[in-house]
């Protein structure tokens, strides 16, 4: 910076918004006496075309290289004036604004006070603008592909949208099949269409889409890089079944020596599966997987004379020598759609979920009522003596939601409606049963929800306001102890079956995803979006987006909407093919950096790393900023004892003169 600063100061009247309480002419006269100020003018509206032209002409005529606009808040017009001075040929970052409207003329009545303060603010701007630096924002290429983590309905929808737009998508699913929680549901509220019927076509689509590479039974191991250029490492877990050879015939599972011995994850443990299994009949991909934790051969090293599955598989697909495989690729954007866990009802011991088999959760009810479920859709329970059809059924809502005692203050948003739906489905199957729902409130806020709730109540499902305190056994009946809070009547309600309307919780393994992607949690422990209102699908990490219940409980339409939102946001860098890297980032003076790593620790964006450099023959570590990750907050700088890391445009040497200017003119 050898050129001498030549500053133009432009004081705006803003009609009378400023000039009524600030003597703008006096301020301009004063500015003209400040060091390096060549021109100082006032104008009625600086932001107007003639106002901007005034500045541009002066830049050309007087060779100005710095501009100060004393007007409104920089939050309002900084971009306007940056653009203007750029058009006149000087670097847009050679601009400083003095906020003499919002923070002066509008808040102080006295014209002397307002004028005096405006002078100081202009002086501080002059002190700073002289020391500003020219900055250029950079562009880097963006990889035209995306990673979607989780292949439930959110992940499937996001992947399909991006793939349909013509970009490559890597869809990574932890379990052997796509489909997620929605595949486990029977009917969906309030329309009662069959969940599988609307989901399976999408599952098939995403497996066969030419732009989607489906990595099922796989986990993301590492994510490095930044928006436009994320480097991904995925571990494909060994299935012990050759993916290409397996035809999905199922002979292996039928002949497995431990056939149907293990609780099926898909059926919420109510059905059984073999050690080699397909999670559910419509699973995609329709490829079998050997569970290494239940397979005799893999756990004990021995399975009869030899594994039966291998013996019967005509395709010769069984391969016990298979090992985990690592795939690496690069993407421009990442969508997190890792879903939720149902609340573990055993954490409410008063409801006896762990003790009484006829206390079941909503998810279990979904499987029980499903035609493809373990009972073929028949509602049968065992009362200790015989298998019966329940006559008395109670639903309890808000189990694990709106409950500080389990650490979940939030409403899970779906339980009111799925309980209403299940009550309706039960009414269909058990026309004579007495069905009641214990509730705190009914929140039927969505499209068609209230209407559906009314319909269910008309179907002779009783809603009783009360939060049960306990469930215990009396003979072969379960007793729900509760107070009907509308009539203040304590009840001991004898029933055959209790369905707990469990809420939604963040996934138990979400910390792993958080660390991979540098994401944060909101107080409810779900992933935190970048802004609760205006950036609900973005995260603090550029290029990483959220879809579905990993961001907070939501129903299927909301999940799909968010997935589509995340997909279209993710496609912005992919479609442009470039990402802009902000110019106002931190920078390290490597010659003074002592490599203590404080800044590395502080940076919330992991934008700083220590690198080894050779300093005159000695290997020393110094901090280095990844400009693509840095957001320019500057939190690192005060933590740096040697003052080596500095945010551009807000350097110590730019701020200290501002402080001095504000003090000296007291």
């Amino acid at each position: 910076m050898t050129e001498k600063p030549k500053i133009g100061v432009y004081v705006c009247h803003c009609g009378i918004n400023i000039s009524a309480t600030v003597d703008v002419e006096t301020v301009a006269d004063y500015a003209l006496k400040l060091p390096n100020v060549e021109v100082a003018r006032t104008y009625s509206y600086m932001c107007s075309d003639p106002g901007q032209s005034l500045i541009k002409n002066d830049i050309r005529e007087h060779g100005l290289n710095r501009v100060i606009v004393a007007s409104c808040s920089p939050r309002m017009h900084e971009p306007t004036f940056r653009k203007a001075i750029k058009e006149a040929g000087i670097n847009p970052y050679y601009l400083e604004m003095a906020n003499i409207r919002e923070q002066c003329s509008w808040v102080h009545h006295d014209i002397d006070e307002g004028t005096a303060k405006s002078k100081k603010l202009v002086a501080a701007s002059v002190a700073k603008v002289r020391l500003l630096e020219a900055l250029e924002s950079k562009e880097v290429d963006a990889e035209p592909s995306a990673l979607v983590i989780g292949a439930g309905i959110a992940g499937i929808q996001a992947a399909l949208d991006i793939a349909d737009a013509g970009f490559k998508v890597y869809l990574v699913e932890k379990t052997p099949s796509v489909g997620g929680r929605m595949a486990q549901l029977d009917k969906t509220f309030p329309t009662l269409d069959c969940s599988a019927c609307i989901l399976t076509p999408k599952m098939v689509d995403c497996a066969s889409h030419p732009n989607i590479e489906l990595l099922s039974y796989s986990e993301v191991e590492e994510i490095g890089g930044y928006i436009g250029n994320f480097d991904i490492k995925v571990r494909k877990k060994a299935r012990y079944v050759d993916f290409d050879k397996c035809t999905g015939c199922g002979d292996c599972a039928a002949e497995c020596r431990v056939k149907d011995r293990f609780p099926s994850e898909f059926d919420m443990g109510m059905g059984k599966r073999s050690a080699v299994y397909l999670p559910f009949p419509q699973a995609v991909p329709a490829k079998y997987t050997i569970d290494p934790e239940s397979c005799l051969y893999l756990t004990k090293g021995k399975c009869g004379k030899g594994p039966k599955c291998a013996e019967v598989c005509q395709a010769g697909a069984i391969n016990f020598d298979q090992v985990d495989e690592t795939v690496e690729f690069r993407v421009g954007a990442v969508i997190v759609a890792t879903g939720f866990d149902p609340f573990d009802a055993s954490r409410k011991p008063e409801y006896g979920y762990s003790d009484y088999p006829n206390v079941i959760t909503g998810m279990e009810m979904e499987r029980l009522v499903s035609a493809s479920g373990p009972t073929g859709g028949k509602i049968k329970i065992f009362n200790g003596k015989e298998e019966i059809e329940p006559k008395e059924v109670a639903f309890i809502k808000c189990v694990g939601s709106r409950d500080e005692s389990v650490g979940n203050e939030y409403c899970s948003r779906v339980c009111c409606m799925y309980v209403a739906k299940q009550a309706h489905l039960l009414r269909d199957k058990l026309p004579d049963a007495n069905i009641r729902v214990y509730y705190m409130d009914v929140r039927a806020f969505g499209k068609g929800f209230e209407e559906f709730y009314d319909r269910v109540r008309r179907e002779n499902v009783r809603y009783i306001r009360g939060n049960p305190s306990e469930i215990f056994k009396r003979g072969d009946k379960l007793v729900v102890k509760v107070e009907d809070t509308l009539t203040a009547t304590p009840l001991e309600d004898e029933v055959d079956l209790v369905v707990l309307g469990v809420g939604l919780e963040p996934r138990a393994d979400m910390r792993q995803t958080m660390e991979l992607l540098r994401l944060s949690q909101s107080p409810d422990r779900f992933f935190l979006e970048a802004h609760p209102k205006l950036r609900p699908v973005d995260t603090a990490t550029d290029g990483v987006f959220l879809a579905g219940c990993c961001q907070g409980p939501k129903d299927i339409p909301d999940t799909v909407a968010q997935a589509k939102g995340a997909a279209s946001s993710a496609m912005i860098p992919l479609a442009r093919g470039k990402v802009v890297i902000s110019a106002q980032v931190a920078t390290v003076d490597e010659s003074t950096c002592r490599g203590c790593g404080f800044c590395v620790n502080i940076c919330p964006y992991t934008a700083i790393e220590l690198v080894t450099v050779n300093r005159f023959g000695h290997e020393v570590e110094v901090a280095r900023v990844n400009e693509a990750l840095c957001k320019g907050c500057g939190s690192c700088s005060p933590g740096c004892l040697s003052d080596s890391i500095q945010p551009k445009s807000f350097r110590d040497r730019q701020i200290l003169p501002q402080i001095a200017a504000l003090g000296v003119f007291k």
Partner: protein, 326 residues
């Protein structure tokens, strides 16, 4: 103190191929003086001592090692440095590890459990200075001064350094070789030696420090001796930006001392070297100990104990105190 064990261990250590030298204490040229010594071979270990006069924190030499430019092609000497430390000194080693000022594989720590060292100025005040060779030893609960064949018993409290009176870690918190047995901890005064000042009102404290900082000659000895002030380019030496003017006057002196104390908050391990070397006798230890106590009591953090700890100044807790916020 088992001098024999010390010298034997030292001899073994310096004999290793991967050791550059050992930094220890030796008798100074006269009187009570003790000097640092860099022992490069077994012949040098006979000079090593450890006595109540070994006040200096040798850890500071770890970062004072000059990394002078090397001729092209010449390799840097990457051999280890062995270092004798007392309890307080060892915390500086740990803090340096936390801050990556040194790496664990670069140092061999020879830990010396320390029953407390003497304040030489008190010794001189009470027993007079001398140019004769004298010896000061630990003796039961106190010290023993051996001068011209005469043995003088000195009660502990009479000459014990203030930092030792307040010491909470007399035994090394990190060591590769421990010399002798660990000493029994004593209970330090909880006030960190600042209750008198704390009791004053804010103007009273200002008056106190005004008098103190007016004495400051800005020699920067406190900074130079501090094991944790090791930036190659200190902000106090900078011209652009100028944090502190070079002028020696009350305003700049105060700003200098506030800046240094702030940079040490949550890092100072209370070895008291700044106070010991101050030629103007400014009680710098009071500021640093006060801050250390605040950090300990309000934030539940003590520096220099765990090499894996997150640095205090580069971390936060969501429930950090915020009662001062409007």
């Amino acid at each position: 103190m088992d001098l024999e064990q010390l010298r034997k261990t030292a001899a073994e250590v310096v004999a290793r191929d991967d050791v550059k030298y050992l930094i220890g204490w030796k008798k100074g040229s006269y009187g009570y003086r003790v000097a640092p010594v860099f022992v490069e071979d077994a012949a040098g270990v006979a000079e090593l001592i450890f006595s109540p006069l070994c006040t200096a924190n040798l850890t500071t030499y770890l970062t004072l090692v000059e990394k002078t430019p090397l001729p092209r092609g010449q390799e840097a000497d990457k051999r280890k440095v062995a270092l004798m430390v007392k309890g307080c000194d060892s915390r500086a080693v740990v803090q340096l590890l936390v801050e990556k000022g040194i790496h664990r594989e670069e140092v061999i720590v020879i830990g010396c459990p320390c029953p407390g060292v003497v304040d030489q100025s008190l010794l001189v005040e009470k027993y007079g200075d001398t140019e004769e060779p004298v010896e000061v030893k630990w003796n039961g609960d106190g010290f023993m001064l051996v001068r011209g064949g005469e043995e003088i018993k000195i009660p502990r409290d009479e000459v014990l350094a203030e930092k030792c009176r307040l010491c909470r870690y007399p035994n090394p918190v990190i060591s590769d070789h421990l010399i002798g047995a660990e000493v029994e901890k004593w209970s330090p005064a909880e006030d960190s030696g600042v209750s008198e000042l704390d009791a004053k009102d804010v103007d009273g404290r200002w008056e106190y420090w005004e008098e103190q900082f007016n004495k400051c000659i800005r020699c920067y000895s406190c900074r130079n001796v501090c094991p944790l002030c090791y930036c190659q380019d200190c902000i106090l030496d900078r011209l652009n930006p100028t944090w502190i003017n070079r002028a020696v006057n009350f305003s700049e002196n105060t700003a200098f001392n506030i800046s240094r104390a702030f940079h040490l908050a949550g890092r100072c391990i209370e070895c008291g070297e700044c106070e010991r070397v101050c030629p103007a006798n400014i009680p710098l230890g009071k500021i640093n100990r006060k801050m250390a106590r605040e950090v300990r009591e309000k934030y539940g953090f003590e520096p220099g104990l765990d090499p894996e700890a997150e640095p205090f100044q580069a971390s936060f807790k969501p429930d950090d105190p915020e009662d001062f916020i409007l």
